[in-house]
Amino acid sequence: MDKKLYIHNYCKIKNNSVNLNGEIIYSDKETEMTVFLKNVYHFLGLKYAKFFKMDSLSKIAFLTSEILVNNAKITIKETNTAVVLSNNASSLDTDRKHQKSISDPDNYFPSPSVFVYTLPNIGIGEISIRHGLKSENVFFVFSQYNETVHYTYENSLIQSGKATTVLSGWTNVDDQSVDVFMYLISEKGSIPHSAKELIKLYKN
């Protein structure tokens, strides 16, 4: 018999606001995305120097995962927590920075620390390093948040015994635009895990 699963908690970051389980926990009017992300980092009281080395996509995934994990009533263990993320822009925000650094043959100095983030799934790596995860993970690129694929994949991971918890969601960063909806799926919670609930929370 299938386990009954729940959306344990969820966090959204959009329009300079951070929303945890339907309540805004932080907002400002900063116009530079990088400064906004730094503001959120300081608001959360984090001490993790590697944060400043990350690209914006990894920063946003990292910050959102911190909020979810630190406000969860379940334990995130090394091998039980899978990570499933998706977005529309892949790593385009960082790809552009890298392209800029190699576009002039007379000034050809690609930055290694930029180049290493020219893949969208590096953010999953940052989250995994932070929590010591050695678990299943995948990053999808969709035209828009696909609640059906997310639901099916998250459900499959837990029902098949690959994970007991799934950290999942949509992390889109492009230029100055941020659209994040991440959540934890587990056997504990109050919102039933379904595609219908996922898209409702994302759009709400």
């Binding site: 730094k38 120097a49 400043f52 080395k53 290694p112 620390s113």
Partner: protein
């Protein structure tokens, strides 16, 4: 030489995104890797790019990197000895 050391500290903080540090936090003889500033392998590559881009110095023998990037002192001395 002293100005070069300050310049190097500023470049390292900026290019390696060491936002928690100021130039006063980096001593001239601090170890840059390991227990010192805790720089990693990607940071090492960034240091090589700084030498090439800002000082026109290419490191031809990677084995020398460990000595060159040992501290601000060793980096500054290497630049003084090798830049045109």
């Amino acid at each position: 030489m002293e100005n070069l050391k300050i310049e190097l500290k500023e470049k390292i903080i900026e290019n390696l995104n060491l936002e928690d540090l100021s130039i006063d936090d980096i001593q001239d003889d601090d170890t840059l890797f390991g227990d010192g500033l805790g720089l990693d392998s990607i940071d090492a590559l960034e240091l090589i790019v700084i030498l090439d881009k800002d000082y026109g110095i290419k490191i031809s023998d990677p084995k020398k990197g460990k000595t060159i990037f040992e501290s601000i002192n060793s980096m500054a001395q290497f630049i003084m000895d090798n830049r045109n």
